[in-house]
Amino acid sequence: MYRMRRWVVRHSNVFEMIYRRFEPLLVKLDPVWRRLGHERVEAPVKVVEKAVKGALFDCQMCGQCILSSTGMSCPMNCPKSLRNGPCGGVRANGHCEVKPDMMCVWVDAWEGSRRMKHGDRIDAVQLPVDYRLTGTSAWLREVRQQNGSSSSTDNSETTK
């Protein structure tokens, strides 16, 4: 929901903190995920993830979440799917070129990032979306990545 996701951006520091606690917990639970099998837990985790992130961020389930690098404003809500910042078409009032009634996702992202401890992550260049991951759980993917149990590499590169 539009109003919800804008409220989240205004409290991005709180959500950053929640994520910082939640993520290690997910990773710590990896033995559980492994015993049950990542493939088998994918479906129920996905349902929960979609419900929670859908309600809070209007998550589009791209499967490679970068919310902590985008001021808690989901870039997949940008009509141009931009993952690296605003286009040049932002209106003078900060609204979107394509959807004039919507605040630019990246104007929000910038403001959100200013409230966050690690807001400077917004300056990292994000590589393009891997469309094979659309609809999959970004949470479980993060667990696999942190435990090195996946061959896929990190999707971001820090700026020099």
């Binding site: 141009k80 993952r83 605003p86 078409g89 104007v107 260049v125």
Partner: protein
């Protein structure tokens, strides 16, 4: 400026140390000259003569010609088509690729094709939304964004690899550019976003129309503070300018063209003039004068949509080229003139 190894039309210049492309634009910029670029409005036609005619208007005044890629999301001849026609007679071109219409497979193919046809410069753009153009029912692609496009193009050139990792036998020797709009929100992020583009591979920047010199000054100060204008990986910034035809058209542009910021003072200046079109040109000349004096600016990009002939007038009147005559087919050998130039002798 004259290089002693000026090109034979269709041939490239040798790549100097510290350069990445065999093109003239990079040479001029790295030599510290004030560079001028302009753009062709590609025809709604399959007639090659029409492209050459539109290029001849800039003969002797520009260092490179941008061939726009479906600008404003309107359908026209493709950028790679226009560039190919122009490089055949020796013009320096800037190939534009927007992320709106093609996915990464098509885009990487286009980069190789464009480079093979002699385009030495590539401008990586996000692209206007399809709602802005004549095909609002089209599917917006946006598989990449301007940043990931830059990154992929840089790796194609420097690492000789496609995004898939597959090896490219002969890499595209291209000078990489991007756009920036310092005049729209979020204003305080714009310099940082430029830094991000430079990190992704941008070597030159052409900005959206500048009608607000104060905003440009502030932007350039911050860009300088970020250290983007020094060292071998420095970026060359060419602010965009253009003549406004009238106060009415300025208002229309402000309302309807995404991302163009025109302050009220500019509109009232046009309204107060007896001849608004002439005043529009004078305003553009004034801006060009001021832009040239901003520290760190490397040139200007003149967008004179439907007023292409005024580009020569603006450059002449401001003297920004300092007596330099940028190369064009026929500059040194009248027999080699663009066949569609008005001065060309029929064969």
């Amino acid at each position: 400026m004259k290089f002693d190894d000026e090109p034979v039309p269709g041939y490239s210049l040798p790549i100097l140390p510290g350069h990445v492309s065999p093109g003239r634009l990079e040479r001029v910029l790295r030599a510290g000259k004030f560079a001028i670029t302009s753009e062709i409005d590609p025809p709604d036609s399959a007639d090659p003569a029409e492209v050459l005619k539109r290029a001849a208007i800039f003969d002797g005044y520009v260092d490179a010609i941008n061939a726009t890629d479906g600008s404003g999301a309107n359908c026209h001849m493709s950028s790679v088509g226009v560039c190919s026609l122009l490089t055949r007679v020796g013009y320096a071109t800037i190939l534009q690729i927007s992320c709106r219409d093609r996915n990464r497979i098509a885009i990487q193919g286009e980069i190789l094709g464009g480079a093979a046809m002699g385009a030495c410069n590539l401008l990586c753009l996000t692209g206007d939304g399809v709602q802005a153009g004549d095909h609002p029912q089209a599917k917006p692609v946006f598989d990449l964004d301007s940043m990931s496009l830059l990154e992929i193009a840089r790796r194609m050139r420097d690492e000789q690899r496609f995004d898939s990792g597959r090896r490219i036998e002969m890499p595209p020797r291209i000078f990489l550019g991007a756009a920036e709009n310092p005049f729209v929100p979020p204003l305080d992020w714009r310099p940082h976003r430029l830094a991000k583009k430079v990190a992704a591979g941008a070597q030159f920047i052409q900005t959206q129309y500048c009608f607000d010199i104060e905003r440009l000054r502030e932007f350039m100060l911050k860009v300088n503070d970020l250290g983007l204008l020094e060292g071998p990986d420095r970026v060359f910034i060419l602010p965009g300018i253009g003549p406004l035809a009238s106060a009415r058209s300025a208002r229309w542009i402000r309302e309807n063209v995404p991302g163009v910021h025109i302050p009220d003072a500019v509109i009232s200046r046009l309204e107060g003039a007896e001849n608004q079109k002439e005043e529009g040109k004078r305003l553009c000349m004034d801006l060009l004068h001021e832009i040239r004096d901003i520290p760190g600016v490397s040139g200007a990009h003149i967008m004179a949509y439907r007023q292409e002939r005024s580009v020569a007038e603006i450059i002449e009147a401001t003297g920004v080229l300092d007596g330099r005559v940028p190369w064009y087919p026929g500059r040194d050998d009248p027999k080699a003139l663009n066949p569609e130039s008005p001065e060309a002798v029929p064969l």
